[in-house]
């Protein structure tokens, strides 16, 4: 599905923990210590209540396929057709990803399908959190 032309993220001080987490085989989320809000993408304060008292924790990795398209046009680092998906993590937040380990067809990608992470090492600095069907 992918090759080295895929555009890769450049972590910032506020997102570094997330990208260190994927290298360690974890999806790291943040929870507000004051209002218990779990949120993504990373930032050092709660977007629900503006508290700076937040903690990083390891998410379970369990997710469901929330929505997607199957892109039929070429894009750098991708061979069409490929699905661009949004998954909903068990803890609540959603994130964009790709679904691997199954055909990129509507039949193989029913909404709400249960997913687990597949950590794809791109280089020494970046590992992307992709997902695959829980029942392989």
């Amino acid at each position: 599905m992918s090759d080295s032309k895929r555009p890769l993220p450049q972590p910032t001080p506020e997102t570094k923990h997330f990208w260190e987490g994927t290298q360690a085989g974890e999806i790291r989320l943040q929870r507000c210590d004051d209002c218990a809000n779990v949120y993504f993408p990373p930032r050092p304060f709660c977007p629900g209540c503006a508290s700076r008292n937040v903690s990083i924790f390891k998410a379970s990795g369990k997710a469901k396929l929330f929505s997607y398209v199957i892109h039929h046009r070429p894009a750098p680092g991708f061979t069409p057709p490929y699905a661009i998906a949004v998954v909903e993590l068990e803890e609540g937040p959603r994130m964009m990803t790709n679904i691997v380990g199954c055909p990129q067809t509507p039949e193989a990608l029913p909404l709400d399908m249960e997913l687990v992470p597949h950590f794809e090492k791109m280089n020494d600095d970046i590992t992307l959190p992709l997902f695959q069907p829980a029942k392989a």
Binding site: R73, F78, I84
Partner: protein
Amino acid sequence: MLKQREIAVVGAAETTRLGVIPDMSNIQLHADCALNAMRDAGLKPSDIDGIACAGESPTNMAHYLGITPSWVDGTAVGGCSFMIHVRHAAAAISAGLCKTVLITHGESGKSQIGLNRAPPGRSSLMGQFEMPYGVYGPPSMFTIPVLRMMKETGLTEEHLAMVAVIQREWSSQNPRAAMQQRCTVDDVLNSRMIAWPFRLFMCCLVTDGGGALILTAADRAKDMPQKPVYILGTGESVETPMISQMADFTRSRAFRVAGPTAFNAAGIKHADVDHLMIYDAFAHLPIYGLEDLGFVGRGEAGDFIKERNTAPGGKLPMNTNGGGLSYTHTGMYGMFALQESIRQMRGTAPAQVQGAKISVCHGVGGMFAASGTIVFTNEG
């Protein structure tokens, strides 16, 4: 608060040509329609003391056109920036910050001459959390929520196709529309797959062009050459730069703030609306717009369109220029939706809605990232 009918649009024009214009740069497209709008209003650059634009900075446009502004607005939140410029300009004129505002849009979206666009950086939120997954232009992003919408509300691919079919009925009456040939649901469903479930005819055009508006106080408008079009109400909002972080994939929060704000300010009910524009970068946007603005209930917009309520002869004529799907779409389409609302209120549209007195013009920016809504009337 801005009073109803306090501010009027007194100049409105598009670029002389639309479509493929390889002999004009981005800034010249802004200027071409600005010159046309000033001629339309009977004004010179020295009469303009406020300027707003997106895609070029207000500094670029003031210098290029020879304008010395005492008020500027460079709000650039995508294709609805121009609705928001109208709102800000009306407030500025009402507050006495300036008297006469020029809003310009020009975009060499097709020919890509002199464009000032930069992609999001790799360290931006999009660059870190969306771009690594193969998003590549609006067709690969704006479309992502729709499968969720279909599962939760019963919206179908045929419903999406009908949006395109009916807008071709409108564009077939418009000699300036890029696509004038009528089409069927099968034509749409059999057109090239872009990002399943979206086919080519469910996606907007990519063109060159522009449009400009001139606003001033209603009491000054009476002495000007064109029939004034009054601003009844306005609204704006933003939600998120990332489609993956849209709070509800079946509703736009930005729509649900901007729309009701404008309706409340205008003091109108849905039944009062004679003409409607809902920015249609893709076929699902009028569906979300009709539901989020409250014209129909949740899950009802697909059938509402299928039953021809928004078609020629229907009770709620919508996207009467053919829309972004069939008229023109330079990248930021909102200005063209505004131009059609003004034509309908002036009574000069190619597919004129007879007797229309109130027009609602609703825009989106980014991928459900921003929104602006304007309610116009031709009754002073």
